[in-house]
Symmetry: C2
Subunit: 187 residues, 2 copies
């Protein structure tokens, strides 16, 4: 599991064995079963999660109980309720496993310790954050310029493996269309 983390970080910064040992000691291995909640609305959000294997959905549930999927996260992605994580407040979102999932969890305190202890890690998190922002901006652009069918095609092109792993009903919830509308797109 630690190998995957090292490989992931080294796409951005190169590390000595000593540096990686320092980094690795700040993470906690956690394993969850399919359908298990990693974060539930109202929880304290203790960790930011690096996904080693498995698949997650980050969900906002509205007042009427309807689920809106903000994002999916799979191998090599980071996920959490980041507003709650950064501000150390209660979760307003939930994070649920769509498959058996292994993650490496980083507490907010350890996130700060990594940044303070090794400037390279601050660079790493800055790069991840900048590209996370660009991904979110791309999604905003897609939501304001494209119709549901175009968004479906963009998603299929960008993340073909999602369509093998995620039930169609959840793809529909992510795109904001009904299950029936989605069926028409995928014929």
């Amino acid at each position: 599991m630690q190998d995957k983390l090292r490989e992931h970080i080294e796409k951005v910064i190169l590390l000595s064995d000593e540096e990686f040992a320092f980094i690795s000691a700040h993470f906690t291995v956690k394993k969850f079963k399919k359908h298990q909640f990693i974060i539930q609305k109202g929880d304290a959000v203790k960790y930011s999660y690096f996904v080693v294997s498995g698949l997650l959905k980050l969900v906002h549930t509205d007042d009427s109980g309807k689920e809106h999927i903000i994002s999916f996260a799979m191998e090599d992605w980071w996920e959490s309720d980041y507003y709650a994580f950064y501000t150390q407040t209660e979760a307003t979102l939930s994070l649920e496993c769509l498959e058996d999932t292994e993650v490496l969890g980083l507490t907010f305190e350890n996130y700060r310790k990594l940044c303070d202890g090794l400037q390279k890690m601050e660079r790493f998190f800055l790069e991840k954050s900048n590209f996370g922002f660009l991904g979110a901006q791309r999604r905003i652009l897609s939501l304001i310029t494209s119709n549901a069918k175009e968004r479906y095609e963009q998603l299929l092109k960008r993340y073909p493996s999602l369509f093998q792993r995620v039930p169609k009903s959840l793809i529909a919830a992510y795109l904001g269309v009904s299950r029936e509308t989605l069926s028409r797109f995928s014929r």
Copy 2:
């Protein structure tokens, strides 16, 4: 102008006079007139801009020539075509002044020099990037869970001053509704 930058950065990290002098030397003052383009689609994107005074719109123009407003930026905001800035590629967006505008421009090279030369600045940019990501995620959530009237009310509540400064036609373009629909909301 530099005072505003110092005040802005010191909301995140405290600086000595020497540190601020070092930082300040990496920025270039630029002044633009209302309606002037700071970035045009196809340009090399040389700078990230800190807005000292004025108001900007970041725009995606689709194949049919229709303008979609990704964001407005006013005093104390940073703006650029960040995909093009971080990857040092050509602009796909345009950035235009809605008022006479003064900015402090930071080249990509100087952004790197600031991060390398003063770890505090890497911390500052990491904080800005994290909160930029959260702002983008909030907008995604608003786009997938709220109708146009609700988005209008959220915008009015969060940025009341926008409604004094921005023509109604642009508020409509930001919300993705027609000018007529917007008039119905604001009655």
